[in-house]
């Protein structure tokens, strides 16, 4: 199990990760979403042992990953900008990873090469952005890690390749028990394939859980009143947002759906409706609570 306990990382006095805690089991797809500069890439680099944490710990089965080959051999990390050795081709890069990762599987490499139509002998520097990412994905997947960390995995891939990669990731988690952690600022991109999802903002983990679990924690209620109650009345709820427009009150709150609806109905509305929120909306509301919304940024 991949765990982080009170993980902290600072850059020149700026807190990039602030007391992150999580547990990620085997064989799942874990989505890591967040605003720009929220600490997604930093978290992945800490997990993969590239960065040393300034506080807390992160590792596999309680063993820290930084400077620990036994843990790092179970992790493969693909950063947001794929890197290849100068003047190298895919064949040479495969040899590079084969020489350094115990689990590197030539059969998987050949299979993936047939899926992603790339030349094995052409120089990687001549590849397009999308092709370079495909090449890097082939290599990382061939390393057969227990944990595959992908930073902006779908960046630069066309629609077909996105779908292909998505299928390969799901296949790998199912057949091999591989855990894939995908960091992205685009929730829609990874929503469908993730079992578990976390929201990072300002270096903090502000929401974490199964995809449905996260979504079902937040409820949007619209109610029409003859005599509209004061908004303070709703403070009894774990309120995230409330808007009043004439006789209509729209609110977003965390908690059990039945309890929230019951509370609103107890105020005697003419009409009351609970609307399901999408995952994207749920995260937008979470960020709005923290002051990260279009309005506050424009101000």
């Amino acid at each position: 199990m991949l765990t982080a306990q009170n993980l902290t990382k600072t850059f020149d006095g700026t807190l990039a990760l602030d007391g992150i805690c999580f547990e990620i089991g085997d064989g799942c797809v874990y989505g890591l979403v967040g605003s720009n500069g929220s600490g997604k890439s930093t978290l992945l680099r800490c997990i993969s042992g590239v960065y040393s944490p300034d506080g807390g710990r992160v590792g596999i089965d309680g063993i820290p990953s930084f400077n620990n080959p036994s843990v790092k051999s179970q992790i493969a990390f693909l950063g947001d900008t794929p890197y290849f050795l100068p003047q190298s081709n895919l064949k040479e890069m495969a040899l590079f990873y084969k020489n350094t990762y115990k689990n590197f599987d030539s059969e998987t490499y050949k299979y993936l090469l047939s899926v992603f139509p790339l030349s094995e002998t052409a120089r990687l520097s001549t590849f397009s952005k999308g092709m370079r990412r495909q090449a890097a994905l082939i290599l990382m997947l061939s390393a057969k890690p227990r944990y595959l960390l992908l930073d902006e995995a779908f960046d630069g891939l066309d629609v077909v390749m996105r779908k292909t990669l998505s299928n390969i990731i799901i296949d790998s988690t199912g057949k091999l028990g591989m855990t894939v952690i995908i960091a992205s600022h685009n929730l829609r991109e990874i929503e469908d394939m993730c079992d578990h999802i976390s929201l990072l903002h300002g270096g903090k983990l502000i929401a974490d859980g199964g995809v449905d679990e996260v979504r079902e924690k937040i409820h949007k209620i619209q109610a029409v009143f003859d005599s509209v109650p004061e908004t303070q009345v709703f403070d009894k709820l774990d309120l995230m947002k409330i808007e009043r427009s004439g006789s209509v009150i729209s609110l977003v709150a965390r908690g059990e759906k039945a309890e929230i609806v019951s509370f609103v109905e107890s105020l005697g509305p003419k009409f009351c409706e609970c609307i399901d929120v999408s995952l994207e909306e749920a995260f937008i509301y979470e960020l709005e609570v923290l002051g990260y919304d279009v309005k506050s940024i424009e101000e």
Partner: protein
């Protein structure tokens, strides 16, 4: 199906090492070809054109040149190879890839450094093996014994390891290529500048200081010079120590110690290096204070020299002191402003300027007070291989008993306080006495004195009229072949007459000169009354033989010698 743990026993460090070597294979092959062109190619070609056969010498002269050239080139190449191996540190994407590999930082560092080292080692080994094979096939050329070649090879490798470990410190500290260049060049150039400043001060204030000592100063303060200058000295043929591990034990011990320390420092720094520093100026932040202080010393010294020279003052004067402080402060403030593009570092720059001044005062004090006995150091006779001494128009290289006489002169200069400041007016005759001891381990001790001749006239004359000097003249005569010419310069008339002489005539001339010298006035050593010069040299089958070993200057106190020369056959008369 869960992910299976592989039974592959692959060691990532050795895997990375093997991969790095295979990636460098092309360059290694090219370097090996280059080495084979040099040895045996170049050496085989030069065998056809040897004027002097190497066996005429008792030292492995060509091995020295080979060692020197290989030492310098391989040191440069290992530095470049290290940069190529570790340039992944200067880019975030590449830093991520390498630091995510299943290796500890130490193993990553060592596997990459080892790959660079082996890439240089392979062509070097091929070169030395070729040299050894040449020695086996052409024994008459005496390129060196197997033991000497093996010793040279080991010393060469030690130099490369030390240079490699030293450059690694800068490489692992730097955040970007520019950062590396600035910190590496800045630090090392500043160190060399400080060495030159010390030399300049010592030249004016330190008893016995010779301009040749700058090499020693630079060797003591710069690792690159320490490892490189030895090789350069060999390459330029200035030094030809016996290649024996035992006789170079001090050098070997020091380089091993330095290599171990530098490698340990590199490992510690790399372990503490933060990957997030990629693409940031990192090393320079650490070196800023050091470079600022060094720049302060250079700036202060430069300004003080300008004021001292224009004001005809001394280093230890109010003008010298004030101009140094002003120069140091201006330099550190400007340096800080240029580096930071603002005056935010104004206060710290003033502190660095003050530190520069304090360091300069300490250096000046040490030098003025004799630099820890520098001027009074005289080596033991048993440690000396040969000694070079020059005074007046005379210069002589001696060994054994001759060295003993030079030591006596050296001690007399010190004990009789015969050395005077060249800047001061002197009333008695003075001469520059240069002494260079070549020690058994190849090291040199060089001293220069502006000696009061009256105080050390006996010691000078003992050398001037000694057997060693006449033996050198005899040896010069012995080496002459074919037609022997003798140039007789009459300085007062600005006239040169060339004679053709025989060896027997030269021997007789030497004897007459010797008799006149021993029976004459000791003040002949002054050299300031010399009016004649005799220079003998020879030609054989179109080849010129250097005549510098038969070179005598005469005063008017040698009438018989001059008269004997006039009996020789003038070359023009023979056509």
């Amino acid at each position: 199906m869960m992910l299976k743990v592989s039974k592959n026993r692959l060691c990532p460090a050795s895997g990375l090492f093997r991969f790095s070597i295979s990636k460098n294979a092309g360059i290694i092959i090219l370097m090996t070809i280059g080495m084979l062109i040099f040895c045996p190619g170049f050496l085989l070609a030069s065998f056809q054109n040897f004027t002097f056969r190497p066996q005429d010498y008792n030292n492995p002269e060509y091995l020295s040149v080979f060692f020197g050239v290989c030492g310098v080139i391989s040191s440069v190449i290992i530095t470049i190879a290290n940069y190529i191996s570790f340039c992944y540190l200067y880019k975030k994407s590449s830093s991520d890839v390498f630091h995510a590999l299943p290796l500890t930082r130490i193993r990553l560092l060592l596997s990459r450094a080892a790959a660079s080292f082996v890439s240089v080692l392979i062509p070097l080994t091929v070169g030395y093996l070729s040299l050894w094979a040449l020695t086996a096939f052409y024994p008459s050329y005496a390129l060196g014994t197997f033991g000497q070649i093996a010793s040279a090879y080991i010393i060469n490798i030690l130099c490369i390891i030390t240079v490699s470990a030293y450059t690694l410190i800068f490489i692992v500290c730097a955040g970007s290529a520019f950062d590396l260049v600035i910190s590496f060049a800045g630090f090392n150039v500043a160190v060399l500048a400080i060495g030159s400043i010390i030399s300049s001060i010592a030249d004016r204030h330190l008893t016995g200081y010779s301009s040749e000592n700058i090499n020693q100063i630079l060797k003591n303060i710069s690792v690159l010079v320490y490892c490189g200058s030895g090789a350069v000295e060999f390459a330029l043929g200035e030094k030809s120590a016996p290649f024996s591990l035992a006789e170079n034990s001090e050098f070997i011990f020091k380089t091993l110690l330095f290599a171990a320390i530098f490698l340990a420092v590199s490992v510690v720094l790399y372990n503490h290096r933060k990957s997030e520093r990629a693409e940031q100026a990192y090393a320079y932040k650490f070196l800023y204070a050091v470079c600022s202080v060094l720049a302060g010393i250079c700036g202060g010294f430069l300004l003080s020299r300008i004021f001292i020279l224009t004001g005809d003052a001394d280093d230890i004067s109010i003008i010298g002191g004030i101009s140094f402080i002003a120069g140091a402060l201006i330099t550190t403030v400007v340096y800080g402003a240029v580096t930071d593009r603002s005056f935010k570092k104004f206060r710290s720059s003033l502190v660095f300027g003050a530190v520069s001044t304090v360091i300069y005062v300490i250096i000046l004090s040490i030098i003025i007070n004799g630099a820890l006995g520098f001027g009074k150091k005289v080596p033991e006779l048993k440690d000396i291989k040969e000694t070079y001494v020059s005074f007046g128009a005379e210069n002589l290289t001696v060994g054994g008993n001759g060295s003993k006489k030079v030591i006596a002169l050296h001690k007399a200069i010190i004990e009789k306080n015969a050395d005077d400041d060249t800047q001061k007016e002197v009333e008695t005759p003075h001469t520059f006495v240069n002494i260079v001891y070549t020690l058994n381990d190849g090291d040199r001790i060089a001293r220069q004195y502006f000696a009061d001749i009256e105080k050390v006239q006996n010691e000078l004359f003992t050398i001037y009229s000694g057997e060693e000097r006449f033996k050198a003249l005899d040896n010069a005569i012995e080496c002459m072949k074919g037609k022997i010419y003798l140039d007789f310069d009459e300085n007062e008339d600005n006239k040169t007459t060339t004679y053709i002489v025989s060896k027997e005539q030269l021997v007789a001339l030497t004897q007459i000169y010797k008799n006149e010298l021993l029976s004459g006035d000791k003040s002949v050593v002054n050299g300031d009354r010399n009016v004649f010069r005799i220079l003998a040299y020879s030609y054989s089958s179109g080849e010129y033989y250097d005549g510098s070993n038969f070179d005598i200057s005469l005063t008017n106190d040698f009438p018989e010698t001059v008269a004997f020369i006039n009996t020789f056959q003038v070359a023009d008369e023979l056509g």
